[in-house]
Each structure stands twice: as structure tokens, then as C-alpha cells.
């Protein structure tokens, strides 16, 4: 399965056209993956403006680097890989630990996660999940960067182990063990925050 635009032109053809500077072809190429790329950037950067900067930079890098795309991985995987790398670079450069980020909004009772519609059979169930998500996202800030990113990629974005291995240029074994440790770490932090340390 590849990317095809409305006139049925395959991914290969779109890539060739985009390499020659055809913006329309490039847009068609990235159409299917830009939302996910945006969400990856958002989760990494925890700030809408920073995420926008990262995404812009990533897309420019992708556009310029089309000539180097060898087709040895899926195109969208390549897009996400560049997005992840850009985010990591920006985080490293900024080195800021945000206490407040734009994913959270000020409310009467304090901060709460930006009002993104939650799916759920019942409103109270949705609210409960949302509150729990808020807690977990808060706890994730305390994770080391490499643990945080595997949680983002695996649990939030739903990438497979193999896809994560490609995105991070890490071996499958490394990815498995890192996810295992990251989840265990997140659980520990969450329980400490929630229960004051009792597991």
C-alpha cells in the first residue's frame, strides 16, 4: 500500500515529482502522515508553538532531503523519523523543563489538559480517563528523555516495536527493554505521585 493522490499516481511518482520541486506532489506525499507527525511533535515538545516550529523544520528538511530518500523504509516512517530527530535536537538545544506547557489550560481548579474530545461510552468514564491521562502525562515529564520517547511512540502514538526500532535507529532488543523499563519507571513515578510511594 502506498500513497496515491486523487488521480491514482503512486508514491514513487509523487516522490520523483516532489524531488524536482513540485510542491503539489510533496503535499500529496505528506498528506497522510502530517497529522501523526504533528501529534508526535506535540507530545515531544509539550508546547504548540514549539511543536509547530519542529514540524515546519521537519517538513523543510524532508522536502530538501527527498533526493536522499532511498526507499529502504516506508515514506511515512522516514517522515516520522525526521520529525523525532528534529524534536530531540530542539529539546536538547532548549534544555528547558516546562512546568507549565500549552497542552494545559488554566481553569478554576487549576490546570487541566487541553480540551480535546475524548472517546468513551459515558461522559463520566471519559472524564475519568482524561483525568488519569493528565496525571500520567504530568508524570512523564519526570522520565528521562529516552524513556519518555518510547512511551510516546509506543503507548500514545501506537507504533510497533519494529517501527520504533526504525524511527530511533535502535535494535529491536534495545527497544523492547527500553519500553519495559520506561513503563516500569512511569508506573513507579505515578504511584509515588498518587499514593506517596506505596506500590
Amino acid at each position: 500500500m502506498g500513497i496515491a493522490n486523487e488521480s491514482g499516481i503512486g508514491e514513487r511518482a509523487l516522490i520523483e515529482r516532489a524531488k524536482r520541486g513540485d510542491e503539489g506532489s510533496f503535499e500529496a506525499l505528506v498528506m497522510s502522515c502530517r497529522k501523526k507527525a504533528w501529534n508526535i511533535a506535540l507530545q515531544y515538545m509539550r508546547d504548540e508553538n514549539d511543536a509547530m516550529d519542529a514540524l515546519q523544520e521537519a517538513f523543510i528538511r524532508i522536502f530538501r532531503g527527498l533526493g536522499k530518500f532511498k526507499g529502504d523504509c516506508r515514506f511515512d516512517t522516514w517522515v516520522y523519523r525526521i520529525t523525532v530527530n528534529i524534536c530531540k535536537d530542539m529539546l536538547k538545544k532548549n534544555e528547558k523543563f516546562r512546568l507549565h506547557d500549552s497542552l494545559y489550560l488554566e481553569g478554576d481548579d487549576g490546570e487541566y489538559l487541553r480540551d480535546i474530545p475524548w472517546a468513551g461510552p459515558r461522559p463520566d468514564e471519559a472524564l475519568e480517563r482524561k483525568e488519569l491521562a493528565d496525571e500520567l502525562l504530568e508524570c512523564m515529564r519526570l522520565l528521562p528523555q529516552d524513556h519518555r520517547e518510547v512511551i510516546i511512540l509506543r503507548d500514545i502514538q501506537g507504533f510497533s516495536y519494529e517501527e520504533i526500532s526504525e524511527l530511533l535507529a535502535a535494535s529491536l532488543g534495545t527497544v523492547k527493554s527500553r519500553i519495559n523499563r520506561a513503563r516500569a519507571n512511569l508506573r513507579r513515578i505515578w504511584l509515588e505521585q498518587k499514593c506517596g510511594g506505596g506500590v
Binding site: 520541486g21 497529522k35 506535540l42 533526493g67 530527530n85 472517546a119 488519569l132 500520567l136 500514545i156 516500569a184
Partner: protein, 367 residues
């Protein structure tokens, strides 16, 4: 089979949740979870965490974000087009410069050089011999003199070359070298190379061996000689007019009509031996315009272009560029490749012999 311990089970919970365990191992773990309260509780908490995180809805891409993305891509596409045009012009400029230098050198060298073509040389010499009625020595002397002419030999040496004995000795060097030179001066590059080498090579010979067996290198870009009927070179008061009138002066100058000073506007003000600096000034002047390119300038343009092509897509910084002998050496800091992988390391890129090579690169860089 020993029962699975809690430590082992704890390490398998995560891959079990993701369906990454083998069937046998998964069954064993399930058995342990069912029987161990602590591991069971841990599994439940991990599963709940993953489920909640997985349920976070995707943030939509707002129209504003879409618009900004489109604008940045459009801007980048325009910048890329400009870059490509600039590279194209730079390459065209360097090629044109090399070609211009070579062409002019070639034309000047071949000006008055009818006898030098290896195919027609012997026939031409034959015709000179029969036409003039002079002996073979005279015709050979003419060929030698013609060779010397395009080499811009000093007047005094020409005067001595009029001596039949000396003239006879010249062709052995002159005609041979002329034929070899004609054969080698086919391409603009070769001509440019000869022109270039003329700055370094034959000129010293000219300096050292004035008038004696001058090799008629294509590098000498001037001086139509004025030949007397006896083959001697008229040095005194040589002017452009003399050059124009040369064909009428000597029957042996059948070479002259087609050796009209077609290309170079330059006319030798005096038949002195050119110093190297004068030669450079002359050739630079004949390239025209404000572009005064030395051989190394032209080569550097070429290497600059090759470097840009080599590093296309990379984010890099050129730290230094210098000539080391005949090699153009660039120190470059590679920041990031096209795929966004950061390297942040230095390499040396060496331009030599018409190609470039990247030194100190790792295999991951893809060079």
C-alpha cells in the same frame, strides 16, 4: 520446569502486553500472574496505564497550522529553485571561463600555425620547398621560425635564427614539438592546460633558453611575427600593421592568410621575451570583462561546485579552504545530513586532479 519467579515475570509483563512473547513463555507468565498477587497487580496497573495513554485522542491539525506548513514548503521550494539556478550559473561560468581561456589559447597558438597540423605539416613543408625554390633547410627553417613565432621569441634570437645553420637546427626541435603540440592541443581543456603550463613550464625555458629550440607551446598567446623573405624575423618596429601586412611580405607566409589574428585583440608591443607576469597580464586581459581568472581560480570554482553537489542536503559549515600545492583542501564541519541525523564532526574534502574526496568520513555518512 522451574516455576517462573517474580523478577523474571516483571521483566516480561511489558512485551506480553504488546504480544511480543512466544506462546510458551506467554502461557507461563499467565500462570504466574494468576497465582501471584503482586505481579498480578503490577500487570493490571501497567495495562491501565497503556490503555489510558493509548486513548489520548489525536490533536487536530488546525487550518492555521496547515497554512503555515504550506507557506514554509512554498518558500523552501522557491529557495531551492534559486539555489539550483545559482549553481547552474556558477558551473556554466566556470566551464565558460575554462573554455574561453582554452579557446583563446588554442586560437592564438594556431594563428599562423598552418604548417603545424600534423596531417598537413609534411605536405605543407613540401609545398614550401617547391614554392619558394629554397632548399629544404629554408623550408624547415620556416617551420621552425613559425614555431618560434608563436612562442614569442626574442628578436635577437630570431636574428640569429636567420643564420641558415641555426635555422636548420631549429626544425628538429621546432617542427617536432609543433606537431606534438598540435596533436595535443585539440580540446579546450588541453589548450587551457597548455596555456596554464605555459605559465609555469615553457616560460622558464624561454627565459633560460632564449631563442634556442623554443618549444612552440600553445601557452604563448601572442605575436604574429613578421618574416623577411629569407626567413628572418623582423623584430624592429614590429606593430599590428606589420602583422596585418605580413602575408604580402613573404611568399612563404602562405600560412599567414588563415593565420589572421582572429582571436586575440592583443598585439605584441615589442618582440621581447615576455616575463611571466606580463604573460599573465596578457592572458587575463584576453579573457575579457572583469573576470580575471587564474588557473587556480577556475579550478577552485570547479571544486566549489563539486563540493556543493557532494554535500547536497547536508547542513554544513566550511571552516577553511586553502591550496596545499595543487590540491584544494576544505575543512568542513558536518552538522546534519538530509535525513536529519546529527553528526557534528569535521571532515576534510580534498579537490585534486579534477575530482574531490572526503577524508575522515565514517561509513554512516554515506559518502
Amino acid at each position: 520446569m522451574a516455576a517462573m519467579g517474580c523478577e523474571t515475570a516483571s521483566g516480561l509483563l511489558s512485551p506480553y502486553m504488546d504480544g511480543a512473547l512466544e506462546a510458551g513463555q506467554a502461557r507461563e507468565l499467565e500462570g504466574h500472574i494468576a497465582s501471584c498477587e503482586s505481579c498480578g497487580r503490577e500487570y493490571a496497573q501497567l495495562s491501565a496505564m497503556a490503555a489510558v495513554l493509548g486513548g489520548i485522542p489525536e490533536a487536530p491539525l488546525s487550518p492555521e497550522i496547515e497554512r503555515r506548513l504550506k507557506l514554509s514548503i512554498a518558500g523552501e521550494a522557491a529557495a531551492l529553485r534559486r539555489e539550483r539556478r545559482r549553481r547552474l550559473w556558477r558551473r556554466a561560468g566556470s566551464i565558460a571561463a575554462v573554455f574561453a581561456v582554452g579557446l583563446i589559447s588554442f586560437l592564438v597558438y594556431n594563428n599562423g600555425d598552418m604548417g603545424r597540423d600534423s596531417a598537413s605539416g609534411p605536405a605543407y613543408l613540401e609545398s614550401l620547398t617547391s614554392g619558394s625554390g629554397a632548399g629544404g633547410g629554408y623550408a624547415a627553417g620556416q617551420a621552425g621560425e613559425a614555431a618560434d613565432e608563436s612562442a614569442g621569441v626574442a628578436a635577437s634570437e630570431k636574428a640569429s635564427a636567420a643564420d641558415s645553420g641555426h635555422a636548420a637546427s631549429l626544425p628538429a626541435d621546432g617542427a617536432e614539438a609543433a606537431a606534438a603540440e598540435a596533436a595535443g592541443a585539440g580540446t579546450a581543456d588541453e589548450s587551457a592546460g597548455a596555456a596554464d603550463s605555459g605559465r609555469e613550464g615553457p616560460l622558464p625555458e624561454a627565459d633560460a633558453n632564449e631563442g634556442a629550440g623554443m618549444e612552440p607551446e600553445a601557452s604563448y598567446a601572442l605575436s604574429d611575427g613578421s618574416y623577411e623573405a629569407d626567413g628572418s624575423y623582423e623584430a624592429d618596429g614590429y606593430t599590428a600593421r606589420d602583422a596585418a601586412e605580413a602575408p604580402a611580405r613573404d611568399a612563404a607566409e602562405a600560412l599567414a592568410p588563415s593565420a589572421e589574428p582572429a582571436a586575440p585583440a592583443y598585439v605584441a608591443p615589442r618582440p621581447d621575451v615576455l616575463t611571466r607576469q606580463e604573460y599573465r597580464d596578457v592572458t587575463r586581459g584576453t579573457t575579457g570583462g572583469a573576470q580575471r581568472l587564474s588557473k587556480k581560480d577556475v579550478e577552485k570554482l570547479g571544486y566549489d561546485s563539486m563540493l556543493e553537489e557532494k554535500l547536497e542536503g547536508w547542513e554544513y559549515e566550511t571552516l577553511s579552504e586553502e591550496w596545499r600545492g595543487d590540491d584544494m583542501v576544505y575543512r568542513v564541519r558536518l552538522v546534519r545530513n538530509a535525513a536529519g541525523v546529527a553528526f557534528d564532526c569535521e571532515v576534510e574534502i580534498v579537490g585534486s586532479g579534477g575530482s574531490i574526496a572526503v577524508l575522515y568520513a565514517t561509513e554512516f555518512m554515506g559518502f
